[in-house]
């Protein structure tokens, strides 16, 4: 059993509200109302806490994207800010450690000196020595570059809101509202830890997928309402793409639900962590499903290579074009929030939720098990979940840096012709695993091992497989537009 946190958030919140209500309403003649009032305020408080946690959690992906993209594109750019801790900024090196009381700063000074001598700016060329590093906008002790995001937020908040004159005013205003509110609603059902969640109905998976799927409607509204041909095209593309990828997504998620035997997200996570249930991470049981989930999620959040709806080269910003100020800011935030939601869901469904890898085995170790046990009690499990989610987001960034944008009809073709059959196959596999192989207890090691080995072997085989004939003939891919008349003046026959 994965160790529980020593701090039970829901319990604490419930206790606090109960006490509050007891002492306030409970003392009045409406004391009978205190029961539902305390429950209600507990839920309300939890919602607020989850909101704050989400907003803090999304800063991670936003910061990672800025830094990681630079490294992957082979320019180091803004990634070096930490160095200015010892080299100083703008030719100024403040010896801040000297201000620390009781001489704690002295060893810091030694470290600083060591860093300056070995990794500093000293050079025989005086002009090079006097350099001041590009100043970074962050707290000096963490996340340099982060303040830029707050500056962005401020900028969004104060910019002018300019609806186009001929836009449909109601739809124009409603669209971003739909998008951002459904995005935030999704987070209501995502548990950050064993006790850190806002809502946990029995069918939370169904609810969440349903809400996740409302956003295409908002996108469509936004694209149409702006009275702009570009946004219309962007909105259409987006609606088509998101709808097309909802299906494989849902089928894959159904596969997960079948495998875990429940439609509740927390129970799916528990299925992977609990020693008496499954206790194997689902990624090893359904690697195909994991890959499908990732791909469909990248398409759902409209990141490259599936960001055709916002493709800058053709549509400027796509369906976001006409929105300014905070509306755009919220849409921008919703993109990252949806990406974060996708990463969190991936971690919950496939990567074992908030369990540290091999947590149970570590606790069960003979000598050091006690230390690990204490560690895992003290460090809130949400930390592990967040780290996994951020790691998955790093994968999203990696994909973005490497791959081109796929054309809309190719995206749709890919979704309908390839992902849908694969997801149905995956569903079949999950059904067979659950009904045919699963026997109620933890998975025997051979099952995930075999599946993983098969998946890796398939991957390697696919990678190494080169169609020599096609290569020799340099045959074109299947989805070539068959145009016979690419010549000036000819009209294509639209009835074909």
């Amino acid at each position: 059993m994965a160790a529980d946190d020593w701090f039970d958030v829901r319990g604490a919140v419930a206790w606090v509200t109960e006490q509050t209500m007891d002492k306030t309403i409970g003392m009045t003649r409406f004391w009978e109302q205190k029961y539902w009032l305390s429950e209600f305020s507990a839920e309300f408080a939890m919602a607020g806490i989850i909101f704050v946690v989400t907003m803090l959690a999304v800063l991670g992906p936003v910061w990672m994207e800025r830094k990681l993209i630079a490294r992957l594109m082979d320019h180091r750019g803004s990634t070096i800010a930490i160095r200015s801790l010892w080299t100083g900024e703008g030719n100024i090196r403040v010896e801040w450690w000297k201000d620390l009381p009781f001489g704690i700063g002295v060893p810091i000074g030694w470290i600083n000196g060591f860093l300056w001598n070995n990794f500093g700016n000293e050079s025989s060329n005086p002009k090079v020595t006097q350099v001041g590093n590009r100043s970074y906008a962050g707290w000096w002790w963490a996340l340099p570059g982060m303040i830029n995001n707050f500056a962005d937020f401020t900028k969004f908040a104060i910019k002018e809101h300019m609806p186009p004159r001929d836009a449909d005013q109601v739809t124009y205003e409603v669209a971003p509202f739909i998008i951002i509110s459904t995005t935030l609603l999704v987070f209501a059902f995502i548990p950050y830890g064993p006790s850190l969640y806002a809502a946990n109905p029995d069918l939370s998976l169904v609810y969440m997928m349903a809400i996740f799927g409302i956003a295409p409607l908002g996108v469509f509204f936004a694209g149409w309402a702006s009275n702009n041909k570009y946004t219309l095209i962007g909105g259409m593309r987006s609606a088509a793409q998101l709808t097309a990828y909802e299906i494989p997504l849902l089928v894959t998620v159904l596969g997960i639900a079948v495998l875990s035997g429940t439609l509740n997200i927390i129970e799916i996570a528990e299925f992977q962590m609990n020693n008496t249930l499954g206790s194997v991470w689902n990624i090893f049981l359904m690697p195909l499903g994991a890959a499908l989930f990732l791909i469909t999620m990248i398409a759902e959040v409209e990141r490259t290579p599936f960001d055709m709806p916002e493709a800058e080269a053709e549509l400027v910003e796509g369906w976001w074009t006409e929105y300014g100020g905070m509306r755009w800011g919220l849409l921008f935030a919703s993109e990252y929030l949806r990406a974060l939601a996708a990463c969190l869901l991936f971690s919950l469904f496939f990567l074992g939720g908030w369990e540290f890898p091999f947590e149970d085995s570590l606790i069960a170790l003979p000598l050091v098990g006690g230390i690990f046990g204490a560690l895992f009690q003290v460090v809130p499990h949400s930390a592990w979940l967040l780290m996994k989610a951020w790691l998955v987001f790093g994968f999203f960034i990696w994909v973005r840096a490497s791959l081109h944008r796929v054309r809309t009809d190719q995206i749709l073709e890919f979704g309908w012709r390839y992902l849908l059959p694969l997801s149905v196959i995956q569903l079949g596999l999950s059904i067979w695993l659950r009904l045919g192989v699963y026997d109620g207890g933890p998975w025997p090691l051979v099952v995930p091992a075999l599946i993983t080995v098969v998946a890796v072997v398939l991957f390697v085989v696919l990678v190494l497989d080169e169609d020599e004939e096609a290569l020799a003939e340099q045959r074109r891919p299947y989805h070539v537009s068959e145009i016979n008349k690419a010549s000036p003046g000819a009209r294509i026959n639209l009835e074909d």
Binding site: H75, N125, P126, V128, L403, D465, E466, P477
Partner: protein, 318 residues
């Protein structure tokens, strides 16, 4: 010329190749293990970039620590862990870090004029395609030719009567102006004491000239005329129009017009701020010492040759 040997759209090319390349590029930036394990073989390889001439020019103040690679991105300007490859202008300047890029006279930077050797010949004005150089000059009598110059020094200017040149004649009001003009009460600028004319044709002791005031062409006797020259009053260049083509620099016959290494100092808040007059285009002669010395040597040689000829003529006549 064939396709790339592995250019087919297959599974491997979808997933593996592009993502491996970016991953490797990212891992290459990790300080210690990156260059060791994920290097590409040509990344950051040291290359000889400084040539002897540049080392002579910049002296030994050059950065001994800099490890140059063929591209700026992998040059190690400071031996340390990963440093931004951005040149931290204004603290660092590219000409300090890569001095071969800014060879004086080779770089089309801001205009600089050594006014000491400028003779106002207006060749630069004529060469400019954009009409950005404005030179104001006027015809003047050289100070050594002035009528009231001391006896010993008079007539030693190098200005002579020449076709296309100028001559001057004392005004009728010459004495009157000298005696009566007072700047405090006149409330106007001092009047010219000479009449100037452009020499069209020169033959013996007469010349046909065109007077600048009246425009009349006349044939005059050179006796009593003073040779005059065009001298510069002010010169300006409109950097707002300048396209930094360098034609003016090449057209200057007196090695006075340069394009410096400067790329700063050419900004202003209005278009008029971009008019660079003598003060803003001044280049210290020592900066372009070689060129200035060459020019001086040329002129000194010419002067020496002339004096020799004059001395020979004098001795022959004597």
């Amino acid at each position: 010329m064939a396709y790339h040997p592995r250019a087919t759209p297959n599974f491997r090319n979808l997933v593996v190749r592009p993502m491996w390349i970016t991953l490797r590029a990212g891992l290459r930036t990790i300080p210690v293990i990156g260059p060791r394990f994920f290097s590409s073989g040509y990344h950051g390889k040291q290359a000889q970039m400084l040539d002897d001439e540049t080392i002579n020019r910049i002296g030994d103040n050059d950065s001994g620590d800099i490890i140059y690679a063929a591209d700026r991105e992998t040059s190690h300007f400071v031996k340390s862990i990963s440093r931004p490859v951005t040149i931290m202008y204004p603290y660092e300047r590219l000409e300090d870090l890569e001095p071969w890029l800014f060879v004086p006279n080779n770089y089309n930077g801001r205009i600089g004029v050594v006014w000491e050797t400028c003779t106002a010949c207006k060749a630069c004005v004529r060469a400019c395609p954009n009409d950005c150089l404005h030179m104001e000059s006027e015809v003047r009598v050289n100070v050594l030719d002035m009528p009231d110059a001391p006896e010993d020094d008079a007539g030693l200017s190098s200005v002579e009567f020449a076709e296309g040149g100028y001559l001057a004649r004392k005004n009728d009001d010459f004495e009157e102006i000298e005696n009566t003009f007072s700047l405090e009460t006149a409330h106007e600028s001092a009047p010219q004491q000479y009449d100037f004319a452009e020499i069209i044709d020169l033959s013996g002791t007469t010349a046909s000239v065109r007077w600048t005031d009246s425009g009349k062409t006349e044939s005059v006797d050179l006796e009593g005329m003073i040779p005059a020259e065009q001298d510069i009053v002010s010169g300006r260049i409109d950097l707002g129009r300048c396209m930094f083509c360098g034609l003016c620099m090449e057209s200057c016959p007196f090695n006075s017009f340069f394009m410096t290494n400067e790329y700063d100092g050419m900004s202003g808040l209005t278009r008029d701020d971009l008019w660079m007059d003598a003060a803003r285009t001044r280049v210290l002669p020592v900066v372009h010492k070689e060129a200035v010395d060459r020019e001086l040597a040329k002129r000194a040689d010419k002067e020496r040759a002339k004096r020799e000829r004059a001395a020979k003529k004098a001795s022959k006549e004597a």
